[in-house]
Subunit: 180 residues, 4 copies
Amino acid sequence: HYSAKGYSSDRIFAPYSVYKGKAAFQLTPCLPTFTKLDSGALVVDRRGSIMMSFVPAVGERKYDWEKRQIFALSATEVGSLIAIGPQDSCEFFHDPSMKSSNAGQVRKSLSIKPHSSGYFVSLTVVNSVLNTKDNFSVPVTTAEFSVMKTACSFALPHIMGWDRLTNQKSSETVSFQPNR
Amino acid sequence: HYSAKGYSSDRIFAPYSVYKGKAAFQLTPCLPTFTKLDSGALVVDRRGSIMMSFVPAVGERKYDWEKRQIFALSATEVGSLIAIGPQDSCEFFHDPSMKSSNAGQVRKSLSIKPHSSGYFVSLTVVNSVLNTKDNFSVPVTTAEFSVMKTACSFALPHIMGWDRLTNQKSSETVSFQPNR
Amino acid sequence: HYSAKGYSSDRIFAPYSVYKGKAAFQLTPCLPTFTKLDSGALVVDRRGSIMMSFVPAVGERKYDWEKRQIFALSATEVGSLIAIGPQDSCEFFHDPSMKSSNAGQVRKSLSIKPHSSGYFVSLTVVNSVLNTKDNFSVPVTTAEFSVMKTACSFALPHIMGWDRLTNQKSSETVSFQPNR
Amino acid sequence: HYSAKGYSSDRIFAPYSVYKGKAAFQLTPCLPTFTKLDSGALVVDRRGSIMMSFVPAVGERKYDWEKRQIFALSATEVGSLIAIGPQDSCEFFHDPSMKSSNAGQVRKSLSIKPHSSGYFVSLTVVNSVLNTKDNFSVPVTTAEFSVMKTACSFALPHIMGWDRLTNQKSSETVSFQPNR
């Protein structure tokens, strides 16, 4: 059921979308991939994440998906989002080329900042080679942020691979039978 | 196992019911439907919801199911219900004919308002064609509202379709074997 | 796989037990039973519960299981337990013969009351026919009560039957293919 | 699918790791094992736990896995970790040889103590036979601790075996058909 490139051929699309006047974003969980060792054991290969995709508005309820920018929240960044209080803010920095020779060329930062009744969720992408700067800011209501927290709390053990740990049938031994 | 109309033939009925003196309501989750694309991918077709059904009392522990009125809570409205604090209130407005020529004929509003030890959950349905106004108000205890919050938090990822995303087996690659 | 009496033949025993000096109790979830209608639909027949079993101590780490008394928490009573705050208390009353001619002969009450670092969980069973009164009181630490809250929150959708609603595959329609 | 020794042959490795300057730790859930009785019923044999493994740093991002020390959190200790407030601390004591003739030779203590923006998670292992004392202290951010709380809350019903109770199909009776 899986293609050679390591992606499931029967993928499912069910993002949580927040569409606002100047921009929109979508959240979707990405599961980890596993590698099978000679022993038969599975170890996490690529870590899971919550993928955020931002698009700018180009008219009423129209968004330009060609200008999409993405930001993959790690498990710990999801932990930060879940734990955020009503007056708290947080900011994450990613470099898509970290530890390569292109490090520092593209810098992404995602911030979550409180407003009177919810949060501003904003992504900035600075590309020093193309000399571009993309900025997306989406006001999120308390109700929308509650969906994000609940859905991300649900997804967190899955992107960590802990659902796999707990779904496996535990071993059964027949050694101990007190009623015999 | 599914009929031509797109409903499961083996449906399950397990609503959470709150029966009170003047009216009652039931909550039940409705899953999203998916469409299969040529690529084999599944995309959400009709969004899921938490369906609320209100009925008036017509005697002691008797309710008139012919006069039932429904209100389907969206994911974001469920997020609002889950996040509500002890002294908070919220209100949602639906028009079953929104964006059609009949828009505005029927207006529904659901409100959740605090009282001394719980909430009033009320539905008003105004039909300007039939010139009718139905009103249901059900006092909900703190314990009953705790069930609603916990059950709706459980159901939320399912009505969003995220349980499908996380139940799919993630792809396994056999490329990385550090112990070889 | 099911016996004629409607119980699963391969039952699983995994209670959460709190053993203290004068008494102990165990918590275990009981799933609802369903009835299949002619239409093929399943409706809840007997509601699920969280079963609490109390036993008195008869020596050091010895308990008299012959003197066991049970109390089945309904979904709403579980909601009350989950929502209880650090200084709150709650009490539930059951009559095992309610609405029968033996109503009032046996009265059970379960109370949860705060102490300095946790709660007292107590069961009183008064039998006016046998003229007996059994009383069990178990001090529960904050850590043990946290397990009870988390485990009962997990079990609640299951005893309501909502896990069945959400595990069913939702129907798939192939009517909408925007990319064709 | 299970080996003779009672371990699953297709084990899965997906620990949650916190790597810091002087030490690191990993968290991974261990499921309970069950014993099948003559009746066909399954009872918990060995209880589940959340296994914590600590290792000392021996260079930049290098850890000495030969010097690993473990601490298995019981369900109630997990309850304590989940319930901990921002200014709270807790400490657990284990003796791996408890109730044997070697009791008291090795003493382990795990502590969780608040600092300005998170917690110190520390393990001390004192071996009075070898006359050694190992000490590991790992500063954990609020975001990392949020992951630990969410993942442990998810895992708790599984290490208790309650997922097994709720995944079993409940019995269905066909005795009650009101529409016939």
